[in-house]
């Protein structure tokens, strides 16, 4: 168990404060946001530009985690990632241990929680880029790859950053899926959201209050950034 027992500000209440959940949550959120951004932008591009069958079905499937109860998602994840599953076995072979009930599983949970939102917003951002810029680039001989990297992405980047910030904020807050696939192991898989639940259950009001305030402050700061980054009228 990692204990950061004396933070730089001394306070009687926080003397024996366990900061691990906060660091774990930030680490999980950072990693899941990174994964969500890379895969999310790719998926959003496919959804925005792809001319394939089942495009809207894929869109619906990606949106599903936003509406399903977390326990349902957690159950699916346990089935797909569990030690008995194909993926679970491959993962165990590769990394020498199971995925479920580790902090990496919390990353997967946070990813599932935040990626749908990111894909939605990113798709909207990519589609909102004035098509005449992309068309102009094409008539100038630019490949689709170059059009995406040099025109579409730079013109949509503010909105994509905003979406990324939102995804980060959201992945900080997952509770249901995390507790089902990563569990509630203090010092190993206990994220802030889970720790708050735990603290309230245990009657540790001070800890719950502190964590609630910190998370609220972080979320507020991120939303403020996201709003500032949000779609702005680009001067023509």
């Amino acid at each position: 168990m990692v204990l950061i027992s004396t933070p730089f500000w001394h306070n009687d209440e926080s003397m024996d404060m366990d900061w691990f959940p906060l660091w774990l949550s930030l680490r999980v959120a950072l990693l899941s946001t990174l994964l969500a951004t890379v895969s999310g932008v790719a998926l959003a591009y496919a959804l925005a530009n792809g001319r394939f069958r089942g495009r809207e079905v894929l869109d619906a499937a990606i949106t599903l985690p936003l509406v399903l109860p977390p326990t349902v998602l957690g159950y699916y994840l346990l089935v797909v990632l569990g030690r008995e599953s194909v993926f679970g076995r491959i993962y165990e072979k590769l990394f020498g241990g199971p995925l479920v009930f580790t902090w990496q599983a919390a990353v997967v949970a946070a990813l599932l929680h935040s990626a749908p939102l990111l894909v939605k917003y990113t798709r909207a951002a990519l589609e909102s880029v004035d098509h005449s810029y992309e068309r102009a680039a094409r008539t100038l001989g630019a490949s689709e790859w170059k059009v995406f990297w040099r025109i579409t992405l730079p013109l949509a980047q503010r909105s994509i950053f905003a979406a990324t910030a939102l995804a980060f904020a959201r992945s900080l807050g997952d509770f249901g899926v995390t507790i089902m696939v990563a569990g509630n192991i203090p010092g190993r898989t206990q994220t802030v959201a889970v720790a708050i639940y735990d603290a309230v259950e245990a009657g540790n009001g001070a800890l719950a209050r502190t964590l609630v305030l910190i998370i609220s402050a972080i979320a507020l700061a991120i939303l403020w950034c996201a709003n500032r980054l949000g779609p702005r009228q680009t001067p023509a």
Binding site: D130, S132, Y133, R135, A136, A137, R138, T139, L140, G141, A142, S143, K146, R150, I151, P154, L155, T234, P235, A236
Partner: protein, 356 residues
């Protein structure tokens, strides 16, 4: 040069009625304009040629290259068509400077060559001072020149322009025409441009293609189309005509003459080949071909008494609008002489009488 046979159908939707574009089009060297009212399919034609829109069937050739062929399922992407496109909003990339915009178009050239070509274009189109600016810091004329220069840098075989003069004020319009004449003279790139401004056709075009409701209705040099519209529709589109229903009363090939019944009056005109007695035809006269004179006793042949409804002052002339939709355009000097006149006759010169 472009040779296109295109068919494209849009079924009726909540916002619009069904629309079918079906035309065969051929351009020559120099500037060709696609002329027609809004919704005639001009921009759609351009988009089919550029490869943004896939026609249902037909075939599009640019010089010897097949850009599209419905039968063999050939549909080249815009990247492979070598068609430059100047958008109505110029579509300059807003996150790049003017120079970066131009460099983007020349990316495939080797470094030194690219640099040289970009600089040459910047100079030719008088953009040296503003090369480091972003598009929103440029004036309308600079944006326009930049977007034309950018399109030319990719060495297109054909330059497509979508209503480049729309929304421009008069000085910018004149500047645009000068730039397009420069492009024709210095680069020799054939130009196909969309417009619904007739004076623009005369200013720029060697050849004019008139579109109406998705169909090509006439093609030829602007002066000839104005002289001889192919149909009442075309005459209406050109918007410069008096159009009146008349009836053929007599035909005399020997004297090269005919008589037309216009309301309660008779008009003499040249012989009308291919018409029969009693045919109902449309008389068309340009406003400047008619003359308005003070009424002096009984009207002479080919004069019709008319009541003046309205006087419209034009930049170079005066247009007298008479009852029955007869429009006469005369010089300011000509009008001044009869300024206080009350009763008018309109003279239809015999040689100018034409029917559709």
């Amino acid at each position: 040069m472009i040779l296109a046979r295109i068919r494209k159908h849009f079924p009726a939707s909540a916002e619009s009625a069904a629309f079918t574009l079906e035309l065969e089009l051929q351009t020559t060297a120099g500037i060709t304009v696609l002329f027609g009212p809004s919704g005639a399919g001009k921009t759609l034609t351009l988009d089919c040629i550029a490869g943004f829109v896939r026609p249902v069937e037909g075939r599009i050739l640019l010089d010897d290259a097949i850009l599209f062929d419905g039968a063999t399922e050939v549909h080249l992407p815009p990247q492979a068509r070598q068609c430059g496109y100047v958008f109505q909003n110029y579509a300059l990339f807003p996150h790049m400077t003017l120079r970066e915009n131009l460099t983007f178009a020349a990316d495939r050239l080797p470094r030194l060559e690219r640099h040289r070509r970009v600089n040459e274009m910047i100079e030719r189109f008088r953009l040296t001072e503003v090369a480091g600016r972003k598009p929103h810091e440029l004036s309308g004329g600079q944006k326009q020149r930049c977007s034309i220069a950018r399109a030319l840098l990719a060495a297109p075989k054909l330059l497509l322009l979508d209503e480049p003069a729309r929304g421009l004020d008069a000085p910018l319009r004149t500047e645009l025409y000068a730039v397009l004449h420069q492009v024709r003279a210095e680069f020799g790139t054939p130009i196909l441009m969309v417009t619904h401004d007739l004076s623009e056709c005369f200013e720029l075009a060697e050849s004019m293609v008139v579109l109406h409701e998705g169909r090509l209705v006439q093609t030829g040099p602007p002066a000839r189309i104005l002289e001889q519209p192919a149909s009442v529709d075309v005459a209406r589109l050109l918007g410069l005509y008096n159009l009146f229903p008349v009836e053929v009363k007599s035909l005399d090939p020997g004297n090269n003459s005919c008589r037309l019944r216009f309301g309660d009056w008779d008009l003499n005109g040249p012989y009308l080949p291919g018409r029969l007695l009693g045919d109902r035809v449309t008389l068309y006269m340009r406003p400047e071909q008619l003359t308005a004179l003070p009424r002096d006793g009984r009207p002479l042949p080919n004069q019709i008494p008319a009541t003046l409804d309205r006087i419209a002052e034009l930049p170079q002339s005066v247009r007298l609008e008479f009852a029955g939709g007869i429009h006469v355009e005369m010089t300011r000097a000509g009008y001044e002489r009869h300024r206080h006149n009350k009763e008018w006759v309109v003279e239809f010169p015999k040689d100018a009488v034409r029917v559709l």
